[in-house]
């Protein structure tokens, strides 16, 4: 796929790879390599200039604006800056995608607690995100992303603001999700961290594919 921004800057040039269901891959490369752009194409925040993104066999280029919400409900996204809603409790933050999906309060309660349990924050459900540490806030973001049991979970520099120890903890969390069958694509510039985990690595440099440790 290719993505050219207005003004002619080419963020992605002919990148092509496949991620199997249940697979975990780290998307690495220096700043400006096109990692974020690639994730934005998957989340349909941006549209490719050329080429196609297939998710679950569905060609995202064919999705009209009206159908994007339904599509995004099938994608879990984790952000570097968490993007939590600070006027709501941890529970309510994790519940947002489930409320959008129209689940019953019972079902929402069950799923939110399951997600919070997985990230180890079950005892913080009634706290406000602002009272949590950065690492904990990121785990709330991850709980929100997995609560809806998405087809694929994408994360853009999820450890960008964390110290090495917390970063490793977050990445281990992703690996654990991978072990229970979640499909994940995680963008990070932290090569040492990725090396420690020994998973598939897709390397981008200057918008081109510079290496893929195996599919």
């Amino acid at each position: 796929m290719q993505k050219r921004y207005p003004g002619g800057r080419e963020a992605l040039a002919g990148v092509s790879f496949e991620l199997a269901r249940g697979e975990l891959a780290f998307l690495t490369g220096p700043s400006g390599a096109g990692k974020s752009t690639l994730l934005k194409l998957i989340a349909l925040i941006e549209r490719p200039t050329r080429g196609t993104v297939l998710v679950n066999g569905q060609n995202t280029s064919r999705l009209t604006r009206r159908r994007i919400p339904k599509y995004r409900q099938r994608i879990g996204v984790v952000f570097q800056d968490h993007k939590l809603l600070y006027d709501r409790s941890v529970f309510d933050n994790v519940a947002v995608p489930l409320v959008i999906a129209g689940m019953t309060p019972r079902e929402i309660g069950k799923r939110v607690r399951a997600s919070l349990d997985q990230v180890g924050l079950l005892d913080r459900e009634s706290h406000r995100p602002i009272t949590l540490s950065t690492g904990e806030q990121q785990r709330v973001g991850i709980a929100r992303a997995v609560a809806g049991r998405p087809d694929v979970l994408i994360a853009d520099e999820p450890t960008g603001n964390l110290d090495p120890e917390l970063s490793l903890e977050i990445m281990r969390l992703f690996v654990r999700f991978h072990e229970v069958g979640v499909t994940l694509l995680i963008a990070t510039h932290d090569l040492d961290l990725v090396a420690q985990l020994g998973q598939r690595r897709i390397q981008l440099v200057g918008g081109r594919l510079a290496g893929d440790s195996g599919a």
């Binding site: 919400p69 339904k70 599509y71 995004r72 099938r74 947002v96 959008i100 809806g148």
Partner: protein, 303 residues
């Protein structure tokens, strides 16, 4: 499916009241602005209804009053009334002697004292007559014919003043419509602007919601409910304002009615009118929010 729909709407409604409660002062000011804008046209309607209520029943509208010359004797007047009553185009006549006329004036005008000081009766005999239903041209012709009779001073069509009053009421009604339209537009703008600010304040939240797959409808809904609540609460306050206004003028009006020796009482807006006001306020709020949401929500996209 339906349960889901109700749940989502109930959540939005509760959320809308909750958010209004978060900024009580701002919400109160908005509600008051809406209330005043709604109360003005509603008050005009109440006023018009009351003035229209002062006009006599419509059946009197075609009546003629025939004033006889002062020199005409009572017996001659009664004969004339009978003669006119025998005509084919007259339904009924009623002779009112100058004595009856004076006593009626005494009781109805409130000038009793002044009238007592008169040494002689200044009033002529009068024949009230009701023509059979006919076109306005025929009635005018009848009036001219009666006017030409000997011993008739002049003929007054009661219809005239009713028509004038109705023309004035029609003008008042039209002006009330214009004021209503202008103030309804003002309510739309006030609520639209409030919702626009609210959308800007919650920009980050909207972006996050869009990112996790919220539909336009889901994001719009709480804003529509906020508009709905503002409109409805504004209308409720308008009802209170009008009730207070009626209470304030009730005393002076009954004093005035006593002075004119009538039993006029203020007509209060009925449940139907109150329902229209509340429904109209809520609808304006909803529509104003819809316009603002349609314009501004689309512009917010996650980046």
């Amino acid at each position: 499916m339906i349960a889901r729909w109700f749940r989502l709407h109930a959540q939005s409604l509760a959320g809308a009241f909750g958010r209004l409660g978060n900024t009580p002062l701002g919400a109160l000011l908005n509600i008051l602005v809406v209330a005043i804008a709604l109360a003005l046209p509603a008050a005009m309607q109440v006023l018009l209804t009351n003035v229209a209520g002062m006009a006599p029943a419509f059946e009197d509208a075609a009546d003629f009053t025939v004033y006889l010359e002062l020199t005409v004797e009572e017996d001659r007047g009664r004969d004339l009334a009978q003669a006119i009553g025998a005509r084919a185009d007259i339904e009924s006549t009623r002779f009112i002697s100058n004595i009856e006329g004076l006593s009626e004036l005494r009781t109805r005008s409130g000038f009793g004292g002044a009238l007592d000081s008169l040494t002689e009766n200044p009033l002529p005999h009068v024949i009230k007559l009701r023509p059979r239903p006919a076109t306005i041209e025929r009635l005018d012709a009848l009036a001219t014919e009666l006017d030409a009779l000997d011993s008739v001073e002049f003929v007054q069509l009661d219809r005239q003043w009713v028509e004038r009053l109705q023309a004035i009421l029609a003008l008042g009604g039209r002006m009330a419509d214009i004021v209503t339209a202008l103030l309804a537009a003002a309510v739309l703008l006030v609520i639209g602007n409030t919702i626009r600010l609210e959308i800007n304040n919650r920009r980050t939240e909207i972006e996050v919601l869009k990112l996790v797959g919220a539909t336009d409808g889901f994001i719009r809904r709480p804003f529509l409910y906020t508009g709905f609540c503002l409109g409805l609460l504004g209308a409720l306050c308008a009802v209170v304002l009008i009730a207070a206004g009626l209470l304030l003028v009730a005393g002076p009006v009954s004093d005035l009615a006593t002075l004119y020796a009538t039993d006029f009482t203020l007509a209060r807006p009925g449940l139907r009118s109150i329902g229209i006001l509340l429904g109209g306020g809520a609808l304006l709020g909803w529509v104003g929010a819809w316009i603002a949401a349609a314009r501004h929500l689309r512009a917010i996209e996650p980046v």
